[in-house]
Every structure is written in structure tokens, then in C-alpha cells.
Symmetry: C2
Subunit: 160 residues, 2 copies
């Protein structure tokens, strides 16, 4: 059932087909649901949220759902190990803040999202849509792409 001869089955052609497939898949098709908290959330409550929702990264937004920050397990671990009272530290103090966050748009490819994760050594990217509010550019959080998202996609591609 798998002919191993002929022009199309050289390594080169197969690699090109795979590359095409991977760059054809859009972030919009694979994005997962982000867990979003407020900047005033305590580090303690953020850690509890992390465990209850079974995620590795929390996103921080204002009341309008605009991206303000991102908090990783390591950010929380760094804070938890040095402080006895994580109830009194707001995550706004420990999060990575805009504009220092690597983001992706729904129109970008799965390949581009994975490349950003690898190049910037992050676990997760917020999927955002740029909007103008009161003359300022804001980024609405509409999803996330994480190493888990990419690993699941890899399994899907291998399944056939």
C-alpha cells in the first residue's frame, strides 16, 4: 500500500509536504482556553488556581480582557520559596508585563507559534487580537498556545 519508488517519495519531497502541512495549520484551529486572573490576585491564590485548573501558565488581564501579564510556574516558585506570606503579594508584582510578552495571532501558523515558543524559551503564548481603545492599542486575549498544544498536535499528525 506504500509505494517506495518514484519522484514524489524522495526524502526532499516528503519533507516539503510535511512543512507545507505544518505551516497550513493556523493558531485559530489549535488554540486552547486560557486561564485568566486579575493583577490584584495574590500569589497564593494564583498558585491555588494553577492547581485547580491544572495549567502551567496564568494570564493576567484588566476588566476588559486586555492582556496585562503572564505568570509561569517558575515565577510563582521563585516567589513562594523566598516568602512566608504569599497571601499578601499580588501577582502584578511577579508577572512578566506587556510589552515584554511574546504573543501570537489567530492567523499565524502552528509552526510560527512553535518557533516563538522555542526561540523565546517560554512555555505558553497568549493568542491575541489587537484593538484600539481610547486611542491606545490593546490586545484582547482570545486563547493560548502552549508546549502541550503543540505536543497534542504532533500526536494528531502521527495518528493517521
Amino acid at each position: 500500500a506504500r509505494p517506495r519508488v518514484g519522484y514524489f517519495f524522495t526524502g526532499k519531497a516528503v519533507d516539503t509536504l510535511i512543512s507545507e502541512k505544518i505551516t497550513d495549520i493556523k493558531v485559530d484551529e489549535i488554540k486552547a482556553t486560557p486561564v485568566i486572573v486579575k493583577e490584584s490576585t495574590s500569589v497564593y491564590d494564583a498558585i491555588v488556581t494553577l492547581f485547580l485548573t491544572d495549567v502551567g501558565t496564568l494570564f493576567v488581564s484588566d476588566d476588559e480582557g486586555n492582556l496585562q501579564g503572564i505568570v509561569s510556574r517558575k515565577d510563582l516558585l521563585k516567589t513562594a520559596i523566598g516568602n512566608t506570606n504569599t497571601h499578601q503579594i499580588p501577582i502584578g508584582v511577579v508577572m512578566t508585563r506587556m510589552p515584554n510578552i511574546v504573543t501570537v495571532t489567530p492567523e499565524e501558523s502552528a509552526y510560527e507559534a512553535a518557533r516563538k515558543i522555542v526561540d523565546h524559551q517560554v512555555d505558553a503564548l497568549p493568542v491575541v487580537k489587537a484593538v484600539i481603545e481610547n486611542g491606545q492599542e490593546k490586545y484582547k486575549i482570545v486563547g493560548k498556545v502552549t508546549k502541550t498544544t503543540i505536543t497534542k498536535l504532533f500526536v494528531e499528525l502521527g495518528k493517521n
Copy 2:
């Protein structure tokens, strides 16, 4: 340069080619270097090691390099948040212990490793070789496969 006609270029055939490629890549080709600590290491020192080596998971072995346990960022976070003295808690107390660890062998495929990561909801798998020592089956740690490994492989596949 990319002929779009002919039998081999139906969606079905492309998916089969991708699946073949992904299952042809062996764990041995993609495995990364694991960071290994001893069971007596304190939770505090384990957290410091995690930051210094820039990894997300630590593996625990005996003096012969046999797998005993695995410690995630969440295991450490759970311990750090509830305890003021992480210097006095050995990671042996908080780690996941054999035989409750999902492992992979160098001969298994990248697809199989990714499937185990997704199905068991873990961040990392130790790559092990089974050996018999004093009549007991032991597992030598020879590498690791993580969500990062799979994400990097995904980027490689998309690059062509």
C-alpha cells in the same frame, strides 16, 4: 516546484506520509540531557538546581544512575508554598517514585513518546534502558523527552 496533481498528493496520502515520518523518528535521535539529583537533595537545593540548569523537571537516581524518581515544578511548588523550611525536606519525600513513572526507551518513536506525554499528562519522560542488577530489574536513565523536545522537533519538521 510543487506539483499539486496525481495520486500521491491527495490529502490522505500526505497524512500517511507525515504519520510515517513521525513514527520513523526514534527517541534515541531526539532525546535531551536530563538533570539528575540524589534522593537526599533538599527541596530547596532542588529548586535552586531547577533555576540554575533552566529545566522544568528533575530526575532522581541512585549512585549507579538507576531511576528512582521524578520531580516536577508543581511538586516543588506544592511543597514550597506550605513549608517555611524547604532546606530540611528531602525530595525523596515529594517525588513521584518508581514504578509510578511513565518511561520511554531509545527504540520507541517520537510519536510514541509524545502520545505518552499527552495521555499521562506529564511534562517529561525519562529515557531508560532496562538492566538486571543482583537479580533485580533496574532502569538506567540515558536521556529525557519533554514537551520542549517535541516542540523543537515540530519546528524542525516545519522548517524545510
